[in-house]
Symmetry: C2
Subunit: 247 residues, 2 copies
């Protein structure tokens, strides 16, 4: 079984979708067989790679997930599209633990055969994110170097520990990724130092700089590697890919 | 009854909390009696003004809200703190429409006597945000000038229309606010033109520039007016305050 990376953080706008798309694209470029799963009702990961959301999400329909996968233009790269009707899933998962198990099993069965699976989560600690965590082998937490981003991290870590205790040996910390990094801002330096002091080795060495090409790429429906391969953003996600593969 | 502005957008990290805090502080400086309500389980509005979250949110306890208000150091400025246990409220509101009515009534009773009430919402279109919309007189939508931010706006507008139809004459569009505005970026120019063409007059003339003092102020527990009164961020929120008061 491949590695299943859940990209999660309840703080909004920290670079979860940008990381899920571009890290998945970097793994695919290195020859691995990669699946990107969009679990966010906003469907940003789906439209960011130029695809359209589906009416009902594959995870809540009866069909096997394999039949709902979309082959992307970049080789070795597949997508399980999101659905704006995820409010249904949130309701569904809430109604009973047994549905959450069903969702988990459905997710796990569908993702065999991939070397890397990346799951993009909505900005919340609700049941959708907890179900995704329960189906994953590791969790990757993007954070901005700003005051509010630090605040939510401890809450996030508590939820992760809860999932780890429910199913020991399944989920591990994949790492904390500093995004939109601006080295000449004192706030960035301060948060960087605090996060590394507090969380130590689980913080990736690679940081992703603030780079407008990362914000432009999704409006062209492709990863930063297709849109601006020599940009600082592309280089950072390539570096991150190598760092994650070494773990 | 005063004006109740719900600051909402399901897209994460677009400046909801920054707008709620600094617009509330600007109203308070102009002599109005102002209440900031934190409905986000992240409690960023609460910690951003230097206060601590409460264990149970005032809205779900039995006490009248009046007894749970916190007086802030800036004159005329009060806070109803958030609670990290909002998962309770989300559960509560989901279990039955009658609870959502209770929440709405509780919120409405507690906010009499204020000229302006600002409600900071979490990045979601779930029941918490819908309840806040139902208790408000107008909705203010901050958006970043980026591709993903445009995407979610139509979905947001659909939910707002739904709330407007359920209780005609109560909720109006307060306006769309462009935040983290960087005039020399082509992406900013593109999104600005598209939003103004599509939404016309409901887009505020005032835009809020990207200004790091807005990101630094919350780590000092105060509004941008106390932290950096001559900054571009402070000037923009003062301008916005005047534009909103004229409506
Ligand atoms: N390193 C970066 N440099 C510049 N812009 C970036 C960077 N990373 C992300 N962005 C832009 O910042 C915005 C927020 O990023 P993104 O949407 O990936 O965050 P998110 O955590 O997925 O948000 P949400 O919480 O809404 O799901 C997007 O418009 C994105 O294009
Ligand atoms: N105009 C601005 N210039 C620079 N930084 C800003 C600006 N507005 C907000 N920020 C910073 O950007 C980050 C996101 O803003 P904020 O937390 O207010 O957004 P939000 O929409 O409330 O996020 P969430 O969806 O998580 O509730 C914060 O770290 C904030 O300090
Ligand atoms: Mg996202
Ligand atoms: Mg916020």
């Amino acid at each position: 079984m491949g590695r299943i990376l859940c990209v999660a953080n309840q703080k909004g706008g920290v670079g979860k979708t940008t990381t899920a798309i571009n890290l998945a694209a970097a793994f695919a470029r290195s020859g691995s067989h990669v699946l990107l799963v969009d679990l966010d009702p906003q469907c940003n990961a789906t439209t960011g790679v130029g695809e359209a959301p589906t009416v009902r999400h594959a995870l809540i329909g009866p069909d096997p997930i394999r039949e709902r996968l979309v082959t992307l233009s970049e080789p070795n790269f597949f997508l399980l599209p999101g659905s704006r009707s995820f409010e249904d899933v949130d309701m569904l998962v809430r109604e009973g633990e047994r549905d959450s198990d069903r969702l988990r099993r459905h997710l796990r069965d569908g993702i065999h055969g991939f070397d890397y699976v990346l799951i993009d989560c909505p900005p919340s600690l609700g049941t959708l994110t907890q179900t995704a965590l329960a189906a994953s082998t590791e969790v990757l937490m993007p954070i901005q170097c700003e005051y509010f981003a630090m605040e939510g991290l401890t809450q996030m870590i508590q939820i992760i520990r809860k999932v780890m205790e429910a199913d020991p040996g399944q989920l591990e910390f994949g790492g904390i990724l500093l995004t939109m990094y601006e080295p000449d801002l004192p706030l960035t330096e301060e948060v960087d130092a605090e996060v590394r002091e507090f969380f130590g080795d689980i913080v990736f060495d690679t940081v992703v700089p603030r780079d407008v090409t990362l914000a432009e790429a999704p409006s062209h429906g492709c990863s930063v590697f297709d849109y601006a391969p020599r940009s600082r953003g592309a280089r950072a996600y390539l570096e991150l890919c190598m760092e994650v593969m070494e773990i």
